[in-house]
Amino acid sequence: MPLLDVRNLSVDFKTANGQFRAVDGVDVQVDVGDVLAIVGESGSGKSVSMLALMGLLPWTATITSDSMMFDGVDLSRADDRTRRSIIGKDVAMIFQEPMSSLNPCFTVGFQLREALKAHLPLSRRERQKRAIELLEQVGLPEPERRLRAFPHQLSGGMCQRVMIAMAIACKPKLLIADEPTTALDVTIQAQILELLLDLQKDTGMALVLITHDMGVVAETAQRVSVQYAGQKVEEQGVNDLFANPHHPYTDALLAALPERATTKHLPSIPGVVPGQFDRPAGCLFSPRCQFADDHCRQVKPGNAPAELGHARCHYPLIKGVPQREAS
């Protein structure tokens, strides 16, 4: 049984122009010790799907799912008390904007001790001791001094480490890291990713890594889930995904990487992601897909079998060749 098993998750937002579907029937499975990367275009619903799981979306959001099982508990049906005992403790999240998720008015130490207080029965002294341990664990030098610092007195890399320290304070079984290194320099990024992978190896913690950087995916993930316009369009082990992408979007995305370029001219995907008002009737990728035909434009594709990466496509690719017989 997977640690996390989310089925058919959808999120709709109430907007001034009507309902907007940000996440559309997404499945997420994560095993103990797994590293799952979620990639996809900006606005494809990566953050929103994980925030839905955490129960952190505003009231304008309507969340539906068949189930959201975490460690034997269905979060979509659990009462508030049960949810609170799990979220923030067994499931923790590092948010996309680190600066805005640390409170500028309180010291790092205060915020870290509060996080501990909410979930663990520790005395004041024990909390202080654990806070120091945590900062040491995330590699911040002079932890006692850092605990007295306010967020603005720390560099971006240090703030990100504090965020990680807060997220792992209660030894979560699942850590969701939303673009944890995007704002950081590559030498600092390397340190942070190594830290996350060490935690995952040492404690068996599962890691969900949301990123748009295919280099980070290649070097850290075991499995990769690709999202497009709110839908999961493919999922594969990392080596297979890079070697043999089955969905035309994944294929085009990898081809657009400058490091794969063979000439000065890069393959590119024409057009843009559909928005609220121009969602195609059939496959959401059909307006930009080089393999699309009338069938694609009219009929929504289902998911291909697991050996074809569950590709949500009428004609999944094998080594770049669409399988017209498949449907």
Partner: protein, 324 residues
Amino acid sequence: MDNTLIEARGLSRHYDVSNGFFGGTATVKALSNASFTLQAGRTLAVVGESGCGKSTLARVVTMIEKPSSGELTLDGHHIRSDEPLTDAQQAELRASVQIVFQDPFGSLNPRQTIGRILEEPVLINRPDVTKAQREQQAREMLAMVGLRPEHYDRYPHMFSGGQRQRIAVARALMLEPRILVLDEPVSALDLSIQSQILNLLVELQERLNLAYLFISHDLSVVRHMADDVMVMYLGRVVEKGAASEVFDAPRHPYTRALLSATPVADPTREQTRIRLEGELPSPLNPPAGCAFNPRCWKAEERCRQSAPELDEQEAHPVACYFPL
């Protein structure tokens, strides 16, 4: 024919900032002693971590700011820190050097139509051009950057990030510049859009023989675009040379660390990563000696005593006592 468009010698830009509680002032050496040349049709990339002075260099080269010291020759005009330019010289230079910023959302006026945005630089710098000529020029430019004629009357918020970046490039090209400074032109864009913009830049360069000063922290993009590379650390150029040499045989330990820290989109590749300890030091209080010494695995006593210089005479110079 010598088609050198930028020649910079010992360019520096320092800022005086108030120094916290004591009311004193301190100096941030955002850019120190940078020298380089750039020819028509070529791309010089500037790489390095946040705060190393890339945007400062961009502002000095585009004359948004004056150098604190050093010499700059742009398209044949000498610019000196102690000698102001005449208005006519300024206008002429403005036309030949243009800049495109990172943020495709912040850099366009939301209240102006695309047509107006494109025509404004012409309106300001070329008052003799008629309205009809301006409009025609703007419409031609839209086509050149791959936008559609009907976009002329629309407002920036109606465009995607990639389209806005095309508009920013189009605006920069309206005065027919010879030098384009691109400060992180694709950093805010998705991979699928990034390749469209990079292709556009390559095409325009071939067609118009533009010189690019290309600033990016994404080394895979730099490798794709650059002829030459200049690596900066804490305001100083630490290594420069042909892109292939800098990437394939880096000589400065920092360049080597930067390259090895950059994730490669190939899961089968063995990683051999140089672990750099510590963070980037504060530019207000740079370390004595070589600025990289506290993080450098090759550092010896000498590195802590004095700062190594870069020998401008070499083809692939490096500012390091113990180059690789």
